[in-house]
């Protein structure tokens, strides 16, 4: 079984990297894009599919709850 953990900054937290990416888009003419937020993804392999282990990894290691939030996408 595989899991993908997606970590993003909370909406209330400023994202200087995303803002910089967004600002640089002007020169490409991609004017429809109004916002870019940068995050991280983690691809996890599981031996037996113990979802609790992934939940704990996401919550206790991959995310700093002061500034970030996560969601998990499960695959077969």
């Amino acid at each position: 079984m595989k899991a993908t953990v997606i970590v993003t900054l909370k909406p209330t937290v400023l994202d200087p990297q995303g803002m910089t990416i967004h600002r640089s888009l002007a020169s490409l003419g991609l004017t429809d894009i109004t916002d870019v937020r940068q995050g991280k993804i983690f691809q996890i392999q599981l031996k037996t599919g113990n979802r609790e282990h992934v939940e704990r990894l996401a919550k206790e290691v991959l995310t700093n709850p002061v500034i970030e939030e996560y969601r998990i996408v499960w695959e077969q």
């Binding site: 209330t12 937290v13 400023l14 200087p16 990297q17 910089t20 290691v61 991959l62 700093n64 002061v66 500034i67």
Partner: protein
């Protein structure tokens, strides 16, 4: 009186701290390896600057799981004096020993320059030799020093007088222009509620002798010695 300086894989300011304690202050100091499980016998512990665990995942995030951090959390809970400088500050927030978090600098640049810090409280073991409002000239060297906390936490930190230093100008004025990295309320350093744990982004270890351009940082280490003598 014995200081301890923790070494994580990737720490790079441990010798600066060791040198200040031993050669500038003339006090006993030993290194503490991050795999150690006890901090018994130390009167104060310093978490130095650097890039513990290569800053992988988030700054300070993986250092939190080093065995020594369990001992340091216990030590802090019992009132032990703990001081995190730069990466050490980041580690203390990740470990939950200090509130808030350090985000990427607003300008994205790694900043390495002198700053003026305004002393906001003298009621800590780190600032007891200063006067309120005293300016210290101390350099920063970081890419992730942008202090953030949610609105409730920030209010609590401010109301409790937990802000120790703010980035100021040479006259002690606090404005957005004197904020190098986007930190909320120009915060450069804070203490915990019990006031025995401090973290700051600027480097007093790089400014404790005039030959380095400023000896203002020495006041922080001398305050620690003063607090330990009185204790």
């Amino acid at each position: 009186m014995k200081f301890g300086v923790v070494i994580f894989p990737g720490s790079n300011c441990e010798h600066d701290c060791y040198y200040v304690i031993q050669s500038v202050l003339g006090k006993a100091v030993e290194y503490i390896w991050h795999q150690d499980t006890s901090v018994k016998g130390f009167d104060a512990i310093i978490l130095p600057g650097g890039f513990a665990y290569g800053d992988y995942l988030r700054t300070g995030a993986l250092a939190r799981f080093s065995p020594v951090m369990t001992a340091i959390a216990d030590y802090a809970k019992k009132g032990g004096v703990v001081f995190g400088i730069c990466n050490g500050f980041q580690i203390l927030t990740e470990a939950g020993l200090l509130p808030g978090a350090l985000l990427r600098n607003v300008g994205l640049k790694y900043l390495c320059k002198f700053e003026y810090l305004r002393t906001e409280t003298t009621d800590t073991p780190f600032t007891n030799l200063m006067t309120k409002g005293q300016l210290l000239r101390i350099p920063i060297g970081h890419g992730d020093g942008n202090f953030f906390a949610d609105a409730d936490t920030l209010k609590r930190i401010e109301d409790n007088g937990q802000v120790v230093f703010r980035y100021a100008d040479a006259n002690g004025q606090i404005t957005p222009d004197t904020n190098p990295n986007g930190s909320l309320n120009n915060i450069a350093g804070i203490v915990n509620e019990q006031r025995n744990v401090m973290g700051m982004m600027p480097h007093p270890d790089r400014s404790s002798e005039e030959i380095l351009g400023s000896a203002d940082g020495k006041l922080i280490f001398e305050s620690m010695v003063n607090a330990l003598v009185r204790a």
